[in-house]
């Protein structure tokens, strides 16, 4: 390429990759959780992420001032939860007995509807959200400067991973949902209302989509079509991680995010190709994903 990069650029680019991976992880963990419990690849997940980002834009306008973003970060995912709960209870819960492909199609129909609703509410313009004052600017680390917001993302990602671990392994609903993922009939026979377990799992997954959307808002321009790019990446990450395995989602996100950000250093124009190629290599070597799938 003729351009040489110092170690500092490499490290800072690597860290940017990791912080982007964290957003991917939060979204993919939700997707993977729904996939594990409900066995449905939720295409509408990307649309919920987009709604989360647009809602963050509007809410941070409503609560003006430097705290606007923090309010939005809490409220936007809850809005997404509300939408997904309505969709699940009104429509989706009647389809669980049906064929896989039909469920997939249903979530695609939802994504079409959500996509147009976003266009209806927010219009087709590009939007942007300012990072809160606390996280503006950058810190210098290891001889290179690194944006504070990205550092914040890394911590949030670790926090969400911990919270998910506690939720899945230590709480009752987490354990029930894991059991339902393995054998839903048995769980039903034990007197647990499986339908509500599914609803809870779906809503939790969608909450993570909304949270990912809210967190990504200050780092990108929010626009229609961001759902399409994200969902395809999320599906690939979940697949290479092992379907339904949350830690697989973490590993997959790291592979995807880091190969992309390092690809920018090697071939900026074709950086987008590196993560896809990484996915192909992983799938050829380990067709069922890196970690154990719950399927």
């Amino acid at each position: 390429m003729g351009v040489s990069y110092g170690a500092a650029d490499l490290i800072s680019q690597f860290l940017v990759g990791i912080s982007r991976s964290m957003i991917l992880f939060i979204v993919c963990a939700g997707l993977s959780f729904v996939l594990g419990v409900l066995r449905v690849p939720n295409i509408a997940h990307g649309s919920l992420y987009m709604i989360g980002a647009f809602a963050t834009f509007s809410l941070s306008k409503v609560f003006a001032g430097s705290y606007g973003f923090w309010f939005a970060l809490i409220l936007a995912p809850l809005l997404v939860v509300l939408i997904s709960l309505v969709a699940e209870r009104a429509l989706f819960c009647h389809l669980y007995q049906r064929e896989h492909l039909m469920l997939l199609l249903f979530t695609f129909a939802l994504s079409l509807i959500f996509g147009d609703l976003v266009k209806l509410v927010w219009g087709a313009e590009y939007r942007s959200v300012a990072a809160p004052d606390l996280l503006k600017g950058s810190v210098s680390m290891l001889g290179s400067s690194f944006p504070r917001y990205n550092l914040f993302l890394i911590f949030i990602g670790l926090g969400v991973a911990t919270a998910l671990w506690v939720f899945v392994n230590k709480t009752k609903i987490g354990k029930i949902s894991r059991a339902a993922a393995v054998d839903r009939e048995m769980v039903g026979m034990l007197g647990i209302n499986v339908s509500w377990v599914f609803a809870a799992a779906f809503v939790i997954g969608c909450y993570l989509a909304g949270l990912g959307g809210a967190l990504v808002a200050p780092t990108v321009s929010i626009t229609l079509g961001m759902d399409h790019t994200l969902i395809i990446e999320a599906f690939l990450i979940v697949t290479i991680g092992g379907l339904g395995n949350m830690w697989g989602a973490l590993v997959g996100s790291l592979i995807f995010g880091v190969t992309h950000s390092l690809g920018v250093l090697i071939l900026p124009q074709f950086a987008i190709i590196f993560p896809y190629a990484a996915v192909v290599i992983v799938l050829l070597l380990r067709p069922k994903g890196l970690l154990k799938s719950v399927w």
């Binding site: 389809l95 129909a109 994504s111 147009d116």
Partner: protein
């Protein structure tokens, strides 16, 4: 030759429909000729996908890539080289078939959802290259104003060309489906393990099916260029892949002609709803949900279900 393979009645119906459509252009406005031609192109694409999805039971999630490869190949040949036109027209399907062979070779090693996912990632690779390689493919601008030979200079002539190619392709697809190969494919869909046990090479049959289907997708790509004279990266985007997938399900994926109906409904909806509102995907989504709830077999499947008892009744009366 067709006796015994084709039900005489539906064959007559198809021929009558073909002749009717062939006579149509002078009598309808230009706009409708264009829409019909677009429906034919999309139908062929959906039919080629349905060979894999409906009859082969494979999760071909990124079929649009092959359509796009066919379209881009012919567009690049006609704009960047001085090759005769027919070479470009032949190169489109062959390039698509080659892409199908390479991608399919990897995909058939996996099954079901993993098959689909691997295909999406390989397909997205192709899309990303086309999308980013400005100097060669024009990037997200695409290629416009592809020159066409005088034979295809007017819309009506393109219409005839597309219709005739569609009819020939559908005939070929029908023969393939009714051949021993087609039966094997359907057997693999219904029970891959048993097929493997009786000595059928499942992977090889699936790969062959992919190659055949991508060839027809490439033809559809060429026809698209004939109609539109331009190509753009959305032709290879996965959203289009899902749209064709829906056409198959919408029309009825276990019937032969279902995807044609699905394509016609989708294209017509997009065009005519698009005139009144820009929110046509919202309407498509709602229709899709209604369909999933009320017509799980697709429109064609539903029609056949209604007609079947009547046909039997009629047959009973004749006896």
């Amino acid at each position: 030759m067709f006796k015994g393979i084709v039900c005489a009645k539906s064959f007559q119906l198809a021929v009558a429909l073909f002749i009717l459509l062939l006579l149509l252009p002078p009598f309808v406005p230009r706009f409708y000729v264009y829409i019909l031609a677009l429906i034919y192109v999309t139908s062929l694409l959906a039919m080629s996908l349905n060979l894999l999805v409906g009859h082969g039971g494979m999760f071909q999630f990124h079929h649009a890539v092959f359509y796009g490869v066919g379209a881009y190949t012919v567009a690049l040949m006609l704009t960047k080289t001085r090759m005769p036109v027919w070479v470009g027209f032949l190169a489109g399907p062959i390039a698509a078939m080659f892409a199908g062979l390479v991608i399919g070779w990897f995909c058939v090693r996996l099954t079901r959802l993993y098959f689909g996912m691997l295909q999406i990632s390989l397909g997205s690779l192709v899309w990303a290259i086309v999308f980013r390689w400005y100097r060669f493919t024009g990037g997200d601008d695409g290629i416009h104003g592809v020159p066409m030979p005088p034979l295809l200079s007017s819309l009506n002539r393109s219409y005839y060309f597309i219709l005739i190619i569609l009819a020939l392709s559908l005939m070929l697809l029908y023969l393939i489906l009714k051949s021993p190969f087609g039966s094997t494919l359907q057997a693999i869909r219904d029970n891959p393990d048993r097929c493997a046990a009786v000595g059928i090479n499942v992977r090889r049959h699936q790969l062959l099916a992919i190659v055949v289907a991508t060839f027809f997708a490439g033809i559809a790509g060429v026809l698209f260029v004939v109609l539109e004279r331009s190509v753009f990266p959305d032709l290879l985007f996965w959203v289009l892949s899902l749209e064709i997938f829906i056409m198959c399900l919408l029309g009825g994926w276990f019937t032969f002609a279902g995807p044609v109906l699905g394509a016609a409904i989708t294209v017509a909806l997009r065009t005519f709803v698009g005139i009144y509102t820009e929110y046509w995907t919202l309407i498509l989504g709602v229709i899709l949900i209604l369909l999933i709830f009320f017509l799980p077999e697709g429109v064609m499947g539903y029609l056949l279900e209604i007609l079947k008892p009547r046909a039997k009744e009629a047959a009973g009366r004749r006896e």
